[in-house]
Amino acid sequence: MCGIVGLLVKKPALRSRLGELMVPMLIGMTERGPDSAGLAVFTEPLAENARKISLYSGMCEEGADFNWLGLGHELKEHLGIDATLASQGNHAILTAAIAPEPVKRWIKERYPKLHILSTGRAIDLYKDIGTPAEVAARYAFSGLAGSHLVGHTRMATESAVTPDRAHPFTAGEDFCLVHNGSLSNPYGVRRMLEPHGIRFETDNDTEAACRFLEWRLREGDDLETALQKGFEALDGFYTFLMGTADKLALIRDPFACKPAVVAETDDYVAIASEFRSLAHLPDIKHATVFEPAPEEMYVWNA
């Protein structure tokens, strides 16, 4: 199983309520995904030369006691970087005017168990093991603000229950993907991508789809072209929900084996695996509710 939720608010005034509107959606998908949960929220982008990096210390020995302040000092000392670190237990968002790759390399060498969740100008990413309600409370999801988000509740079938195998997965910058289903050719996709210098962090099938699509985008495909190539290259069952800095995109496999339902009003577009997760949304009784068709692309702009 697994549950997927997505929310895009159309009116700037609603951006401050994005997290509050989404938390019941995520918790509504607990039965479909009780073992882990996560979400990526897209905020107003930082300046061209700035980046934010979401970090997770739950797999380090220190766990939630990780010395984030110390990390900030070390970045200043070793790389001369003035970074701000907004931390919350085992999670922190590092923000700085930086080229992200050297910083990420340094972090991986100095703290190999510190997990880099995401990089970009707009994306903040959170994911951990636990029920959706526990994870939402751990990171105060209800206070999150932004234009759109992508969330997931996991019932693991293809790889172990660990924080790094929870969804969303990311690759590159300001891109994330969540998956309900199971791919039948993830290793073939990996073997095709690895000679292009693309590295994998887990044995999870979803990571193959995520890195494939991000590779296509990086190679210059627009989102629609990349998704079309995804239909050709990825085999198996999937409903994928993807987020970029300014878009939400949804596709389902040709057999539509995994569910999805969309509700749209003048204020928002909401996506979930089941209507149960949409029922609490404001004015839902007057929303246009539909099931996305298999092998069609649905793209909404933030």
């Binding site: 057999f255 539509a256 569910p259 089941e274 209507f275 149960r276 029922a279 609490h280 539909f290």
Partner: protein, 229 residues
Amino acid sequence: MERMSFDLAQVPLREVNTFLHKDAPSRGALQVVVTNPDGAHNIAVGLDCPVEVEVHGHAGYYAGGMNKTGTVTIFGSAGTGVAENMMSGRVHVKGFASNGAGASMHGGLLVIDGDAGLRCGISLKGGDIVVGGSVGSFSAFMAQAGRMVICGDAGDALGDSLYEAVLYVKGNIKSLGADAQIEPMSEADYATVSELLAASGMQHDPHDFKRVASARSLYHWNADADQEY
């Protein structure tokens, strides 16, 4: 007729289903109204008395499943497997229905005013399905008996490996499944379509429908066929 209401925002679904199973059979003619279903699964499943159930809102999975003698009307959409394994009675979805609508039905009438998703009427064993809109791919897969009337279009592989169920389609068929073929309509077919449309409250000209049934070439092993797969 006695009328009862259950607000699923106030009471758990189990209370509704327990009432329908334990109390409703002794009440005589009875109408039960369910409000705020909010996508809950298994609403009004396994009805075993002539109760009328109205669901006001969107239902989750398996609504009206295993129905026997009940009448269920959903004023909204229905999730996966609406009226699956219905034995008799009637289930009417006023909105759209998700995948596997009427799967493995043995009897009764399933009416869907809007579109139905993929695999509508899969393994149909009897009874009738009338869809006002279109049906998704693999509908009527391995359907053994019963009838389906589709007023819109059909997706890929309609009636794949069909047995003795008969399908009537008004719109376009994207593709027929293995062993399904379009056959001429007889007077009996026109009468059947007319009767099912009338029972479902839909208005179409039966002469606009095509008949799809099994060519029965998969019924027997063909030793002469090219067996290279």
